[in-house]
Amino acid sequence: MVAVMSSSEMREPTFLVLAALADGRKHGYAVISEVAGLSSGRVTLRPGTLYAALDRLRDEGLVRPAGEEIVDGRLRRYYELTDAGAEALATEAARLQSNADQALRRLRLRLGPAAGGGVA
């Protein structure tokens, strides 16, 4: 059975790209490194996927280019969150946190008092 995802939900790579840009502007390679760090190496963004995501997010008004510089003869274009992007990230983070809180609360109920809060 295929789960139907509502349009308001965000795919994980998109969420991670927005999260990577949350603390300031970054260039492409820095976003890839940051996403790998945020996901503890679980999500590896490839260049094609990154630029497809950035193009889509830019079209949706969630990120925007934030300057360029040449480093060692290589062009680095920076991207940053827009206000709408920050709001979308906050909404998604709150949704994920709420889901996680609910899941943990039910796990605690399932394990019972004897578990002694074994679920972190």
Binding site: H27, G28, P47, T49, Y51, D59, V71, R74, L75
Partner: protein
């Protein structure tokens, strides 16, 4: 290494390379430097995304894509006109019990109904804004028409062969269906705009309905009788191709609305004249060939003017929609 990356990035369309080419190259070089080697999964990933971009025609529309898209819309409209006419007069024809298919349990219904039905559904999908579905249906219509036509063509080598529906019609459906599938048949404006485009073919279809009973006592055109198609295949292809070429030239010259109007309103009629020269010359048509031709020209002109008027009224919206859609 830089040369290898540049080669892979060339898989992307030019507009993408203009936008991201240099920064992507920098990213790949940074990444390779950090790893100490090139990662071929990165290259595969780039190639896959480049192929996807090219197949989905995303990005700002190039001249070629724009032309393909517009030709596709015209072709689907033609497909609708031809398909609906032959579904009614050729396949169904409830008012005419005669059939050239002696002993056939299904009467006049032939395998041609498959390609005509697919053609009609393609037009409906286009009007509903389902460009991908319209494309697949048009491709299916073209392929099925070709499949019906192919064996008799092989028989011509031995001096005999005919198809039912007529080979010229099948050849035209094959060509128009292929043109429709080659581009993205998005109505140039809104959904209602697509409907207007189809309605613009109304005079053509209506005139066909009026003319059909006049095509003589043995109206072979709607395959009531076996026909000889060897010559007419050539005529049908020639006229159909010529018309599309002319419409394309108009589109390239910037007269896209006029090109669309011409193709939408004239092609089915030209095809009719091409395939029924004997019926016209034999005086089977009561009003006479020249007068009929004049009526056709007037009907096509009127329909064309309607298309032009509506298009000019909504012209700025076209570019907004095309650009937004392509970049999405």
């Amino acid at each position: 290494m830089s040369a290898l990356y540049r080669a892979v990035l060339k898989c992307y369309p030019r507009w993408w390379r203009d936008q991201h080419g240099e920064e992507a190259l920098g990213l790949l070089l940074d990444s390779a430097e950090a790893r100490g080697r090139a990662d071929f999964r990165d290259l595969l990933n780039l190639a896959a995304h480049a192929a996807r971009l090219r197949l989905t025609q995303a990005g700002p529309p190039t001249l070629v894509q724009g032309i393909r898209s517009r030709v596709s819309v015209i072709a689907v409209t033609l497909l609708a006109a031809i398909s609906s006419t032959f579904l009614v007069f050729g396949e169904w024809a409830p008012w005419d019990p005669r059939t050239s298919m002696e002993g056939s349990p299904i009467g006049n219904v032939t395998t041609g109904s498959i390609c005509f039905l697919a053609g009609l559904l393609a037009a409906i999908a286009m009007v509903l804004g389902r460009a991908a579905s319209a494309r697949w249906l048009a491709a299916f219509s073209a392929l099925s028409a070709f499949a019906i036509m192919a064996p008799p063509i092989a028989q011509f080598a031995h001096g005999y062969g005919f198809t039912r529906p007529p080979g010229g019609i099948l050849a035209f459906v094959t060509m128009v269906g292929a043109l429709a599938a080659a581009g993205e048949p998005l109505p140039p404006r809104s959904r209602s705009r697509g409907l207007f485009t189809l309605l613009a073919a109304g005079p053509t279809i209506a005139a066909m309905l009026i003319l059909a009973p006049s095509l003589g006592p043995e109206p072979w055109f709607y395959y009531r009788l076996p026909d000889q198609v060897a010559l007419r295949i050539g005529l049908g292809i020639l006229l159909g191709t010529g018309l599309i070429v002319l419409a394309t030239v108009l589109l390239i010259a910037g007269h896209r609305v006029w090109g669309a109007a011409l193709a939408v309103n004239s092609a089915p009629w030209l095809l009719l004249f091409a395939l029924a020269p004997t019926a016209l010359s034999a005086g089977a048509v009561p009003v006479g060939g020249p007068l009929l031709l004049a009526l056709v020209i007037v009907a096509a002109l009127l329909a064309g003017l309607i298309v032009v008027r509506i298009s000019r009224h909504r012209q700025p919206e076209t570019f907004r929609r095309m650009t937004t859609k392509s970049q999405g």
